[in-house]
């Protein structure tokens, strides 16, 4: 059974370690906040200028001056701090953020990522994505394994305009978890009940199966939001 989006987020939550500062991108990555273990301390960074992002507010408690990078109303936890956009990307560039989770349209086997532009379509812009992928030392991509036409999004080389080069360390899809090492997708986990042949068929880039390949295990819901 392929994972739901919530389950992809749930799997990624296992990557969060005690003491991590984490930046969660828009879409599936945002859902990761729902599954952070209560046993660890993690601080969420929002690149529009906040460390210590909390859950969405209760109805009636929205503050228009307090939003996340997806422009959603949010809250700030005790111990949070606000800062300007330059310092926000400064701490990202300086490698102070331990983990970045992003969506993508394509990932290549050497870790290139494309997630900002589709030729022929209205281009809305890269936002902070290019800064994040160029700077973060630990990037996990959360995405669907194939596009709507069924084409693999895990490719030998990206066909769409690149957001950043050789930066993705791990990819989590509804079918599988890969580590990217030396130009190859290393299949480390598969979704419960999904056949490795199906994963292989839907992975256009170079793929190998690690010896200790295992079924994906999920973190129980225990989160912020």
């Amino acid at each position: 059974m392929a994972l739901t989006k919530e389950q992809i987020a749930q799997r990624i939550a296992l990557e969060l370690k005690d003491g991590y500062y984490v930046n969660l991108g828009i879409g599936i990555p945002t859902l990761v906040a729902n599954y952070i273990s209560k046993d660890i301390n993690v601080v969420l960074q929002s690149e529009n200028g906040l460390l210590g992002m909390g859950p969405f507010p209760l109805a009636g408690e929205e503050d228009p001056d307090l939003i996340n990078a997806g422009k959603q109303t949010i809250t700030a936890l005790p111990g949070s701090s606000f800062f300007d956009s330059a310092l926000s990307f400064g701490m990202i560039r300086a490698g102070k953020v331990d983990l970045t989770v992003l969506g993508a349209m394509e990932v290549s086997q050497n870790g290139d990522i494309a997630n900002w532009k589709v030729p022929g379509k209205m281009v809305k812009g890269m936002g902070g994505a290019m800064d994040l992928v160029a700077s973060a030392k630990n990037i996990i991509v959360a995405m669907q394994h194939t596009d709507k036409q069924g084409n693999s999004k895990l490719l030998p080389t990206c066909t769409l305009p690149i957001t950043g080069l050789k930066c993705v360390r791990k990819v989590v899809t509804e079918l599988a978890v890969f580590e990217i090492i030396e130009g190859t997708f290393h299949l480390t986990e598969y979704a419960p009940g999904v056949q490795i042949d199906e994963i292989r068929a839907k992975t256009a880039g170079k793929m190998i199966i690690v010896d200790h390949v295992a079924e994906i295990k999920l973190q129980p819901k225990a989160g912020l939001i």
Partner: protein, 231 residues
């Protein structure tokens, strides 16, 4: 040094056609509402606007777009605006997209008197085309130039008559950076207080960077993505 100005109209009186202006804000959060309304009333055209986003159809920079006052947008993300899309596709509007951190850093560089900065953002992408790449400690960086603007229009939470500014929460975003980068910086504030009423430890933008400060009025502070939790 009293920098108070009495009206939004007076604050922007010398913004001419063809000016390059920066506008603070992230989405609709922390945008200079009063100054934008005044610019819309004035109808100044052929503006180059440096702003992270371009507003929505009926608010923020979207109001200026509707009147075709904007010749060029320099932004990182411009997604929420149908009129914007129409003008872009028809070729009426020029758009330059740059990474968000690069935009922030280029404003900051101007405020710090640094002519250029190095950032890894955009290396190997379209953004790098025509730009100098330089390697430090085995990592590639783009040389990006400081941004200056004829005018910076910013929004703060509180300000004093000396032009010192304090921002609230994530409405800070690009405002302090653009405040530093304007040849003329115009700040509107929700609460204008006498000099001495803000604690000098807590000031985000020192008054030296601010030329005019306006007590804003009628803040709408629209929310773009109202999101709530249930319990």
């Amino acid at each position: 040094m009293n920098k108070t100005i009495s009206s939004a109209e007076a604050a922007i009186y010398d913004i001419q056609e063809g000016a390059v202006i920066m506008l603070g804000g992230f989405g609709l959060c922390g945008i200079p509402e009063n100054l934008i309304h005044a610019l819309v009333s004035k109808g100044t055209r052929h503006l180059t606007c440096i702003s992270n986003n371009a507003g929505v159809d009926d608010f923020g920079i979207g109001l200026m777009l509707k009147q075709r006052q904007v010749k060029k947008m320099i932004s990182s993300y411009v997604g929420e605006n149908a009129e914007f899309e129409r003008q872009l596709l028809s070729g009426e509007l020029e758009v330059e997209l740059i990474p968000q951190g690069t935009l922030a850093s280029r404003c900051m560089a101007a405020g710090y008197g640094m002519p250029a900065i190095f950032t890894p953002a955009g290396v190997g992408t379209e953004v790098a085309e025509g730009k100098e790449v330089r390697t430090f400690n085995g990592k590639d960086y783009l040389l990006e130039y400081a941004f200056e603007a004829d005018f910076a229009l910013v929004k703060a939470w509180k300000g004093d008559t000396e032009g010192n500014l304090v921002y609230k929460a994530t409405a800070r975003n690009f405002n302090p950076l653009m405040a530093m980068a304007g040849k003329i910086t115009i700040a509107e504030v929700e609460e204008l207080v006498p000099a001495g009423a803000l604690h000098p430890n807590e000031i985000h933008t020192p008054g030296i960077y601010v030329h005019r400060v306006l007590q804003g009025a009628g803040y709408e502070k629209r929310i773009e993505q109202r999101t709530v939790r249930n319990n």
